[in-house]
Structures are given as structure tokens and as C-alpha cells.
Symmetry: C2
Subunit: 819 residues, 2 copies
């Protein structure tokens, strides 16, 4: 066991205030902005060699702080470096404005719910929707103008995302004007179309805050050219097989679909049927007529599916996956280099020359950190310096300074006391013999085991539909919650996810059950609340999570959660785009009036459209799959994404409009299923494989984390355990899920608790280190890459975006690297 | 341009015959067999230090030759090393016996076509099938006894594949005896079941010649434990969602499927419906009743699909892919080390001490190579030595000797003359002015372009169904073939794949069309021959193959072709197994009698089974999907593999039997779709990514290839082009597809043809080097790995099979290696 190094902070400030003060102004801001563009030759620029520690101007500190904050958050806007613009830039990234942007984008997108055409009753008057939209657009205009103001002008106009935002805004305004004039003046037979609505999701992608989504889009954009080759060959082979099918089946009059439709009679239908076959949606059906005619025709379809489905579609996935990996590598490199360049620029502003080295002195550090972390106390700032300054010279070298962003990303926390409210209020009662005994029982692991077992039993009862026991389980679980809350105190009870989950589920179920009893009779509406009891069974997942062999899988799923939301954003962009177009084209063509033909009015028969009489679409009861409002459109698009029966859905909309409607559905399938969904699969493939490989890498941690552990200043983390806070938590916790940062303390035996007093001297400040399994893969990869490159390497010169258009050849091709 | 090094072979034999001859017998055979087990400590074993070149015994030469041939072919049987057994071992691997084995396995498998139950008319009498099967089994017994005779006894019984073969044979014999007794004596109401038939495909896997298929199976076996974890979690979540569905939908009486069936009414049906939903086969249908009831229920299904389909199924693929990569690496290592160990053992037998080095002398080399390549001339053997002996000492060191297997795998060819038959027979006419002119036209690339264009036009005519032009195209293409044959001569015409293809297609179409005209009237049967004309359009693929951007894709598809056949073998094994079981269970339950209810007899209505009345199965016209003979069973299993509508197919067989039939279909889906098909996808993913990465690696070639190129002894290959044969082929070939080995000569400009005479001095012997893009990925990876390890590294000691149960940690984890 390592003895934690006790750091006495707070008495250094005085020691450092003896630093002499000179008037030398370090590298000016214009210089540093140049330097930022090319980090290689900084040392040549600064000719003055100050031997002292001059007072920095406020605006220089602000600039440095802004650069460091940008590095910490991974931003990459290239803002103007003079004071006025830097201040404005900070306002641009202000919490309030960022959330306002999200709010207005949400409102703008949500307008589709209430705009005509939509569900009856939801519709708002025209002036209201246009008024709201104009407000949103105004905010977008303000936002883009603000961005233009703070960004370097040439950079601003080179950036595609700004151009896209501006043109979207212009197009939307034109559309609104045309639309208002049209509806007021022209007595047109045709309703005017608000086509610009489909542009709205572009704001999600193109406003510079949607970094993750934009990265996913960049990935798609870079992948498309590569898979184009595969897709062209794929379509070529579909066309060839189409010719074969036409010749083979087209002229046989006996061949006909069960519903009497033509069987491979004209070339375009051949292609369509074969394309649908590649999606497997019409699989045996398209073969059956030919197969019934001669069994050998099966060979045609089998051959086609093997080539076009199993081989080509796998190659599409391979091409996408390959690209994804390449892009991932580049993104990692870019973000690491981008971060370092910003930090280096900040360092250049703050540095002072000491014995032929440029360093940041303690005095400047304190000045500077007050700008970076305005709310933090002096003690915390001191502690941060102690961690960065590895060789203890009381000043920070450039190499140390480059770790600042990592350090700021480690949370600093205070160790507080752990008495429950009850203990404070009624100490005697709480600490009585019976109470202590109860607490010991609750903390014992058999308490947990027995309730896990109850969950298991409950699952069986639910499965075999024994309702009588509902009350029994409900009360048992309620008692469990009360006991736990009593023992651990509400604060520590709710800090654990599964406890909150239990509380919510059981609480709701309890209220629901009581309401049910009071109102009397099992109201069918309330049946839904039974589901809350079922949700409790989800706790079983937790049980599985504690079994080692399932850990990789569950950790992967948990870790990729946030990224899945990113991909959800990407898919939402496509969905919204297609949904708006679909609504404009297919709105009102198909309605749901139920299928009981004796009840439904005649004009409402066949989904309210006579064209659907006797169609598969109607027979399968698909009337509710329509484009009458945006939510229904989303559900329909999701069904199309799942692919099965998409040709039947398509056929319905073809019948009520025109065969050209197939183009819409084909394009949706190509973009959302073939491209986006495969990118999603590629993402999960890579995430899983990385998790799996990284678990076996002995050591990945940033320099900062290593130092924190060395100094014994961390809690959590995977290897070195701080011994301070364990004494009183060990029993308390007993395998309960601790808050993210602390739960790793319990997975080993810890013997002594002596050092706890020492730490309280330091006001109990501690860094919360994340366990490796809880880190995002991206962070791990960045740390790996930082470990590989030179500590001061800031990447090749030039704009980072242009650095890696293509993956450079790896340094050495080995069997290991290539497979 | 490099000048080719002219090697004068044939005058060395005399120079070398002056080697002194001693009587020292080199390491005896028993020793060398020990040595083979652990190649590390050979040098300690041989204490005698011969300074001369004793005559080796015939049996030693035979043993060495056998070891070398095993290394060349990648065999890994551990045979007994004494003379009698070595000879027997060579017989074991004799061409005739190997092909007999394939023949008898095929016959045994094909028996299912004619065994009861099968299609009417195909059935053989019982005694005939049993007689044939007994003959096959006899051969298998002979084969396994032979293997037991030549293999080390302990090794033989340790090998699972031998145990499996023996137990299969025993089980089959028992089954046959029981069956014969049963059918002859018991007046059973139940037909006896020949269950052992499903064991037949085990012979494909387990006889030691089915190396590729066995490797794929090993891969599956090793992958299953890893994906079990994912699958268990997956099923757990299906069970949880099943509970939710039961609570949500089970009690709502209004919810019912369109066909009136129960909707999530009992737990097992819930699980089944949700499992089918994960395969997407019942996608919107299973949701529609609940969605019609309340639109919010859609969230349940969307959530379920996102978790169980998009996340879990992707993770299954990821786990399989990860395992596949790991196994691939190990296979590569094992085969490289296995090859080296065998070669080292052979070297130990042949070696002679010269100046403190062990070498193989020229004399021994010639003796030895006569055993290895009995048919080859002395010149060829000399040439091989010249390539191996890189430093020109006229003897081969161990390091050189380890390259022998690679060298033997490079084809040695003679350059022959290229006069066409016509030119020889009628030289004057063939070389006349008009004839020369015609030839020049045919050889010109515009000739090819114009016919490619005609193919394009033809494709259009076929697509738009303009039949009138058929004769025009037919005659045009016939003329093309005749002209080409005239110019290039039949031999060089047919050597190119696309020419043979054209000849076959156009020839057949011509004959078909003529027959059609003679018989008169468009007989519908002959329509099928139109397809031959369509096949011609496939030549368009060749056009695309010459465009650089499509090359990776097409090269990949061509290169993975043979491996796809391997996977075809794997899938065949599963198909056969399931087909036999399916036939035994479901035979005769469903028949196809057509769907015209006014024509079909009453007892034959509803696929001949009243249970199918009004079923989806009948309404979709699936009666032909049944298990009445093995071919139909294969088609049905393929449909199940494609997944779509598999639940409808299942429901049909459930209706005519019992709900337990679902188990059969579920197991088939789990093994063939979830596991085998994902392994196939993993294989294509890896193959494509490797092709793509390896294309950019500047140099991967074995030492042997490098030497051959250095000596200018190669034709083909990627970099150095031999200039000898190009002079007269350049014009002749004109971008036509040359036979595999030669076509790379044409893709660069070649200027001088002087050296051709020099090479004819050497009887025109040349090594055929394959272009890199034509090599199998596995070969490339082996060469890469050989480049990485020490030239004499024979791997860690111990049995190679046990070496890499788990992937060792890579030497250094870099961002490059890990992504």
C-alpha cells in the first residue's frame, strides 16, 4: 500500500509573493494569434527575455483563459484575439445563449406539430405559426451575426456550416413571404407548400454547438464517395439480374402473383421487385410463382440473393466500417492537436523566462486561474498548481501546462460528512440498539440478495399472470425502500441510480394501486400502471451487470449510450427532412377509420380511399401508417427503417398517388437504411471492439491522473485507492451502487483509516477520478494517442481540418496492426 | 528498367560432382521426429560433425521429401517417421485416395435424394440405398484405419476429429442394423427413423482433408462462448420486454390480430412474437393492433427494436467479428510456424556440416529434389537451387531452406511459341496483306470498344424488349468470335475466361435460335435459351473492372470467391443436418397441388392439409415450401435464412403439427442466421478491409519472390516485369484478359525485346509470379508475418494447436493498432 502524500496547501502563496515583479509585457495578443496558427516555431517569435514576473494586463489574462476553456471543452472556433472580440466571444458561448439556441431550435422544429397540415385539433392559426417561426429565425439571425462578429472574417466565410445556416435562413424567409402572399392573394386551387420547413433540421447540424452531430455528418459525407463505388456495382448487378428476370419470367403468361398482378412483365417493375428483394422484404413471395412453375427457377433467386444481399451488402458495411475507423483516428488526432495548440497559445501569453526556460510563475498562475475558474477558492487553485507542477519548482513549464485541459476536466470535490438527517435530528433514537440492529441488517448483503430474489419471484408471478400477489410485492418493496432510506439517509439513498429508479417505480405503482382501489373496479385505463411493477424487474439487469462475463457487454452499452443519442440526432435530422416532404406529398390520402366494414361509413371504407380496395395495404390493416401528422410520419418512417413490409407500405402510397412515389421510399431506404444505419452498426462494432481491446491494455491514463494518484489526491480510479474516506463507507455501502466516483473504493480490502484527519486539514479537497471502464472510449483513445506522441508535439502545420484528408500509412504494417 | 540477370543453368552439375563423398550418416530418422516436436534445441542433438557429403539412404530422402511436401501443402498430420509408415503416409495422401474420399462422401450425402422419404419417382428400393451406404461406410472405415496406422497412436486418439469420425461410423452402423431389423420384423404403426443420416455431413468436417471447412468450424466453436454472454443478455431483455408486453396488451380485450388471433395473451406467445420481431419478420403487423388502439404504444415497439435489434444484434456481430480477427491471426501464426517446423525437420535430415555451418550440398539437393518433384528435369531442379541459394555458395543454409515451401508454390513454366494453327497450316494465306490487315483491326482496341458498345446497346434492347434485333446481335457477336479466333488462334482464344464465356453463350444461343426456327413457332420451353443472350451482358462487368475505382471491390469479390465456397460448405453442413431432421419430422404434411380451388380435388385443398384452411401460409401460396424431398428442404431452409416471412412458414408447420415445431425453426434461425451468417459477414468485413489496407502496403512478397525478381527469372508479379515474352504479346493481347499469370505484363510500356534469345538458351524456364492483387489474403498475411518474425523463428515450443488459446497482448498498443 502506498502512503498518500500529504500536500499542505495554503502556505505557498506567501512564499511565492516574494517573486520579483517586472514590467515586461509578454508576447502581445496579435503575436499569439499568429502563433496559434503554427505552433512549431514559437520560440523564435519572442525576443524579449524577461527574467521577472510582470503584471499581466486583464485582457491578456482573459484571452488566455478563453483559450484554455476552449481547449477544455474541445471547441475549435477561430475567434478574433483583441479584447472586445474576446469578451464578445465569451458571451457567445455563455450558458444562457447556448441554451436559448437549443430552445429556439426545438421550438422551430416542434412547429411542425401544429402547422397545417396536421392532426385535427392540434392546428394553430397561420399567423401564430408564422409569428413563432419568425421569432425563432430572428434569434438564429442574431446568433449567426454574433458568430460572424467574433470569428476571423476569412475563416467565417470559408466555413460551410455558416454558409449553410445563412442560406437556410434566406430560403426560409423567402418561403414565408411567398407563402403569405400566395395564401392571401392567389385563389389557387392548390394549397401553397411550405417546402422550406424541411430545411429546419439543418440548424441542428450547422450551428457550431451541435459538435457531435456535425461530426457524425462529416463522417457520412466522407464515407459516401467510398461506398458510391460499391453501390454503383451493386445497382449494375441489380440491373443485370433485372434483364435476366425479364427474359426468364416476363414472357411466361402462366406466371402471375397470387393477387393477379403482373410478374416481371416490364423492366422497371423487375428492378423494383429485385431491389425490394435485396431488402428481403418480399422474399419468398416474389419467388413462389416461378418456383411453383419450375423448381429450378429457385436457383435464380438464390444466386441473386447470395450476390446482391450477402456479398454486396456486406461489402457496403465493410466500406462504411473501414471509413468510420479512418475518420475516428483522424478526429482523435485533430482534437488532441487542437487542444494542444490552444493551450500552447495560452502558455505563450502567460510565460515568463526563468533560467532559459519559459514558465508560468505562481503569481501569474493565480491571476490567470481566477479568470478561468472565477468561483473557485484560492486553496483549490493552489491544489491545481501542485498537481501540474510535477517537479515542484513552484512554476509551470510548457510541457506541464499542456496538461491543464485534462486537469480541468477532473472534477474537484469536497469530502463532506455522512450523517443522515434522522441521525442529526433524533440521535438517541437513531443510535438505539434496535435501530442499530435494523441498520446492520439492511446493510448486510443478504438483505440485498433476498430482495433480488423477491424480484425474481415477482417476475415469475407476472409471467404467469398471478395478480393476487401484486399487493404483497408492492408492500414488500415499499418496506425495502423505507428501510433503506432510514439506514442510508435520503441523500445517499437517492444518489444511487437504482434506488431512485425503485422509488419512482414503486411509488407510482403504490399511488396507482390506491387510486384503483378508491375508484373501484379495474378501470382499463389504469391497467397501464401495472407496467410500473414490471419495470421493477429491470433491476435484474443490475444483477447480471455484477457477473464478470457480462460486464464487457453492459459496460459497452452504458458507454455508448451518449453516442447513441448523437446518432439519434443524426437520424432525427433525416427523419424530419423526409417527414416534412412526406407530409406535403401524402397528407390526407390515407386515413384510419377502423376496419369493421359494417360500422365504417361508405366514404370512409378502405382507409378512406377507394384506391386501396382489396389492396395488401388495407388487408394488413396499415391505415394508421400515414403522413397525416408529423408523429405518425415518424412512426411510419421508423417502420420503413426496420424495412420489413416496406414494399407493402410503399404500394399503398403508390396506389393513392402514382408509381413515382416509389422514388421517395427508395431514397429514404437508401439514405437511412443503407447508409445511416450501416454507419450506426459500424459505430457499435468499433465501440465494442475498442472497449474489448482497451480492457486488456494495462494502463491508459493521462499524465494528470497519474500525478493525482501519485500525490494521493484522488478518489475513485482503477489502481491506487485513497484510504481516507473508506473507513466509514465500507460498511455503509456494502456493494450498493455508489455514486460514479466512489464505488471503486469498495472493491478491495482496505485496512487503515489513519490519514483521514490529515486530509481534513486540506478542507477535504479531492479529485474525482473516473474508473477506466466509465470513461468514454474517445477520451481513452485521446489519452492513448497523447501517450504515443511527443509531449510537445502540436501536429503538422496548417489548418487541422485539412490535415488528414486521407489516412496516412501507418508507421509499420504488422500482422497485429493490420488485422 | 532493370536488366534481367541471365542465369546459365545446367553447367553446375559437373562442378558440384567433385564434392567429396563420406560415409557419415546424418541424423537418423528417430532423432528427426523428436526434433520436429521442438525445433528449438536441434543443434544439441547432433553430435557427429561430418565434414563431407555422405550418400543419404533412400528412406531418409523419402521422409525429408514428405515433410517438405506437407509444408508446401500446409498439412499438419503427425505421422510415424519410419520408412514403412512414411510410404504408407504418402499413399494416404495419394491423389486417387483423396478424390475417392470426396467421391464417397458425395455419394453418401447424395443418398438423401433417393432415400425414402423423397419425391415420387426418385425413390430407390431400401436394399439399394443401404447397400450403397455400406460401401461408403466401408471406404470411410478403410480411410480412418489407414490414418490410425500412419499417425502417432497417442496423437490419433487425442484428435477430436478422429473420435468424431469413428463414433459417427459406429452410430451409423447401429442405426442401419436397427432400421433393417425394425422394418423387417416389427409391424410397427410408426415408420422407423433413419436418424443417423443427419450425421453424414460430419464426414465433410472431420476427415482431415476438409481443412478449410474444419477451420471455419473451429472458428465457430471458439466464437460461441464469447457471444453466449451477449446472447444471454439479449434473451434476458426479450424476456423482460415479454413481461411488459403481457402486462400492457394481454388484458386488453379489444386488442386482437386482424385474423382474429390472440394478441400477447400468454407469456410464451409474447416471447415468440417478440423474438420474431427482432428478426423484423412481423414488423409493423405485430404493432398495428396496439398502435390503432393508442398511438403511444408505438413507443414500446420502437424502444424494443432499438435495444434488441439495433444494439444487441450489432453487438453480436461485433463479438463475432472480434473473435474472427483473433482466430485469423492465430491461424496465420500456426500455419507459418507449422510450415517452418516441418522444413526444419527435413533440413536436419539432409544437412551436412561445412565450415561450422550446417548446409544442404548440391549433391544432396539433387537427390532430394528427385524425390520431391519426381517428374521434373535436372535443369528445373538446378534452377530452384539457384533461387534458394542466395549467396551463391552452391549449398543451401537452413535459413534458405526454410523458403523451400514458398518456392515450390511458385509455378515454373516454359515459354512456348505462339504461332496459331492456321498460321502453321496456311502460312501464306494467313500472312497475306488482307489477313494481316484484319488481324490488325481485331487487335486494335477500338475493335474491343465497339463490341463493348454493342453489348451496351444489346442490353438496352433486351431491357425494352425489342426482340427483332436478336438475330442481328447474334450474328454480330458470332462474327466477333470467329474473327478473334482467326487472329489469336483457338488456343489463346480459349485461354481467356471471357472469350470462352462468349463462345459458350453465343454458341448456345445460336443453336437454340436455329432449332427454334427449324421447329417453327416460339415454343415456350425454348424461351429459356434467351437467357443465354442476356448472360452476354455480364461482359459489362469486365468493363467496370478496368475502371480503377471499382477495382478494389471487384478484386475483393474475386479473391474471396474460394473462401465463400468454404463458407458454402459450412452452411451446407448445417443445411443438411437440419434438412434431414426436417424431412423426418415434417415430410408429407404439406403438399403442393396448385391454388385453383375449382380444379383441385377436395382432399388436396389447402396444400393437402385441412389444418391450413384460411391460414396465412396457404394465402401466401407457400405450399411448395415443404420438406417432401431434400432439394425442397434446402430451398425452404434458404428462405428461412433470408428470414423474411419465416414466421409465416413456421406457422404453417406449427398448424400441421404442434407448437413445439417452433423449436426447430428457432434453432435453425439461431445457428444459421445469428451465428453462421454473422461469421460470414465478419469474414467479408475482414477480407474487404484487409484487401483495402494491403493495397496500400508498399511491399509484401516472400523472400523467394524477391530473389526470383532479382534474378529476373519471373514473369508476372507487380513491380519488375520480365521483358522476354512481351514483344509479341503486347500487340496480340491488347488489353484482352490474359491468363492469370501473364496479364500484368501489358499494363506498362515495354521497350526492348532483346533478351528473348538469351532466355531460350535456358529452355525458356520461368517462374510465374502472381500479381499481388491476385494472391489470397491469407497468403499475403502469412508473408507479412514471416517478414516480421526472425528468419529462423519456429515459434514457442509445444503443440501448435495449444499455442494460442487466447490472443496474446500486442507488443505495443498504439492508436493505429487498436483502431
Amino acid at each position: 500500500m502506498e502512503e498518500p502524500v500529504i500536500v499542505v496547501v495554503g502556505d505557498r502563496t506567501t512564499a511565492d509573493s516574494s517573486d520579483k515583479i517586472s514590467t515586461e509585457t509578454a508576447s502581445d495578443t496579435a503575436d499569439s494569434s499568429d502563433v496559434q496558427k503554427n505552433g512549431k516555431d514559437k520560440s523564435h517569435r519572442i525576443h524579449s527575455s524577461p527574467s521577472d514576473d510582470p503584471e499581466l494586463q486583464d485582457e491578456q489574462l482573459l484571452l488566455a483563459a478563453t483559450l484554455v476553456l476552449d481547449a477544455k471543452r474541445g471547441r475549435n472556433m477561430n475567434f478574433k484575439k483583441d479584447d472586445k472580440h474576446v469578451k464578445s466571444y465569451q458571451v457567445y458561448h455563455h450558458f444562457f445563449f447556448r441554451w436559448s439556441l437549443y430552445f429556439f431550435i426545438t421550438v422551430d422544429l416542434a412547429l411542425a406539430l401544429v402547422e397545417n397540415p396536421t392532426r385535427k385539433g392540434w392546428q394553430w392559426p397561420l399567423w401564430a405559426t408564422i409569428f413563432v417561426e419568425l421569432i425563432c429565425i430572428s434569434f438564429f439571425i442574431y446568433r449567426i451575426v454574433h458568430a460572424a462578429y467574433v470569428t476571423e472574417t476569412t475563416e467565417f466565410w470559408k466555413d460551410t456550416k455558416n454558409i449553410l445556416v445563412i442560406s437556410s435562413i434566406v430560403l426560409m424567409l423567402i418561403d414565408i413571404i411567398v407563402f403569405v402572399i400566395w395564401t392571401n392573394n392567389v385563389e389557387a386551387p392548390q394549397r401553397a407548400i411550405r417546402w422550406s420547413r424541411s430545411l429546419r433540421p439543418l440548424f441542428i447540424v450547422n450551428f457550431s454547438d451541435g459538435k457531435q452531430v456535425r461530426r457524425a455528418f462529416r463522417n457520412i459525407r466522407r464515407t459516401v464517395p467510398d461506398i458510391m463505388n460499391v453501390l454503383i456495382l451493386f445497382f449494375l448487378s441489380v440491373f443485370l439480374f433485372g434483364l435476366l428476370a425479364l427474359k426468364l419470367f416476363g414472357k411466361r403468361q402462366v406466371l402471375v402473383y397470387p393477387n393477379g398482378h403482373d410478374y416481371f412483365k416490364n423492366y422497371f417493375d423487375c428492378i423494383w421487385d429485385l431491389y425490394v428483394l435485396v431488402t428481403t422484404a418480399n422474399d419468398p413471395d416474389v419467388m413462389m410463382p416461378a418456383y411453383d412453375n419450375s423448381n429450378w427457377f429457385a436457383l435464380f433467386f438464390i444466386g441473386y440473393l447470395i450476390i446482391c444481399l450477402y456479398i454486396f451488402m456486406s461489402i457496403v458495411l465493410a466500406a462504411i466500417y473501414n471509413n468510420y475507423k479512418k475518420n475516428l483516428k483522424n478526429e482523435i488526432r485533430m482534437s488532441v492537436y487542437g487542444k494542444r495548440r490552444r493551450l500552447a497559445s495560452a502558455f505563450d501569453i502567460l510565460k515568463v523566462k526563468r533560467q532559459n526556460h519559459y514558465v508560468v510563475t505562481h503569481h501569474r498562475w493565480c491571476q490567470f486561474m481566477k479568470k478561468v475558474l472565477p468561483g473557485k477558492s484560492m486553496t483549490q487553485i493552489e491544489l491545481l498548481m501542485r498537481v501540474l507542477d510535477r517537479d515542484g519548482h513552484n512554476c509551470i513549464s510548457k510541457q506541464d501546462f499542456l496538461n491543464l485541459a485534462d486537469l480541468l476536466n477532473v472534477e474537484l470535490t469536497e469530502i463532506t460528512d455522512r450523517q443522515t438527517i434522522l441521525e442529526k435530528t433524533f440521535p438517541r433514537m437513531y443510535n438505539s440498539k434496535y435501530s442499530k440492529c435494523t441498520q446492520r441488517i439492511v446493510r448486510h448483503r443478504f438483505f440485498r440478495y433476498s430482495f433480488d430474489f423477491m424480484i425474481f419471484i415477482n417476475a415469475f408471478f407476472i409471467a404467469f399472470d398471478v395478480d393476487n400477489a401484486d399487493w404483497f410485492f408492492l408492500s414488500i418493496f415499499t418496506v425495502e425502500i423505507i428501510l433503506k432510506m432510514y439506514t442510508f439517509g435520503p441523500k445517499y439513498f437517492f444518489i444511487r441510480f437504482w434506488n431512485s429508479f425503485d422509488f419512482f417505480v414503486i411509488g407510482s405503482a403504490l399511488i396507482a394501486s390506491i387510486v384503483e382501489v378508491v375508484i373501484g373496479a379495474s378501470n382499463e385505463e389504469l391497467r397501464t400502471l401495472d407496467i410500473l411493477l414490471v419495470l421493477r424487474v429491470l433491476r435484474l439487469i443490475k444483477l447480471f451487470g455484477s457477473i464478470q462475463r457480462f460486464k464487457v457487454v453492459i459496460t459497452t452499452i452504458i458507454n455508448i449510450g451518449p453516442s447513441i443519442i448523437t446518432y439519434g440526432g443524426v437520424i432525427f435530422v433525416f427523419y424530419y427532412f423526409f417527414a416534412i416532404i412526406g407530409i406535403e406529398i401524402f397528407h390526407g390520402k390515407i386515413h384510419y377509420y377502423g376496419y369493421n366494414e359494417s360500422v365504417v361509413e361508405e366514404k370512409n371504407l378502405w382507409c378512406g380511399n377507394a384506391a386501396l380496395k382489396d389492396s395488401m395495404f388495407y388487408r394488413f390493416h396499415y391505415c394508421n401508417n400515414n403522413f397525416n401528422d408529423i408523429l405518425k410520419a415518424f412512426v411510419l418512417l421508423f417502420e420503413l427503417t426496420v424495412v420489413n413490409q416496406w414494399h407493402v407500405l410503399t404500394s399503398g402510397f403508390v396506389m393513392v398517388t402514382h408509381k413515382a412515389a416509389r422514388i421517395y421510399f427508395f431514397l429514404f431506404h437508401l439514405t437511412c437504411v443503407v447508409i445511416v444505419l450501416n454507419i450506426f452498426t459500424a459505430f457499435i462494432l468499433e465501440a465494442f471492439i475498442l472497449e474489448y481491446s482497451l480492457q486488456r491494455v494495462p494502463k491508459i491514463e493521462s499524465q494528470v491522473e497519474a500525478t493525482i494518484k501519485e500525490l494521493g489526491l484522488g478518489i475513485g480510479g482503477s489502481k491506487v485507492r485513497s484510504k481516507s474516506v473508506v473507513g466509514d463507507t465500507l460498511e455503509l455501502v456494502d456493494n450498493e451502487q455508489l455514486p460514479e466516483s466512489q464505488d471503486s473504493q469498495t472493491d478491495g480490502d482496505v485496512s487503515d483509516t489513519d490519514s483521514i484527519e490529515d486530509f481534513s486539514n486540506e478542507k477535504g479537497l479531492k479529485f474525482l477520478l473516473k474508473k477506466r471502464s466509465r470513461k468514454k472510449v474517445e477520451v481513452l483513445l485521446q489519452q492513448m494517442f497523447e501517450g504515443e506522441i511527443d509531449p510537445e508535439d502540436e501536429g503538422p502545420s496548417g489548418r487541422l481540418d485539412d490535415l488528414y484528408p486521407h489516412d496516412p500509412l501507418p508507421r509499420k504494417m504488422t500482422l497485429e496492426a493490420i488485422t
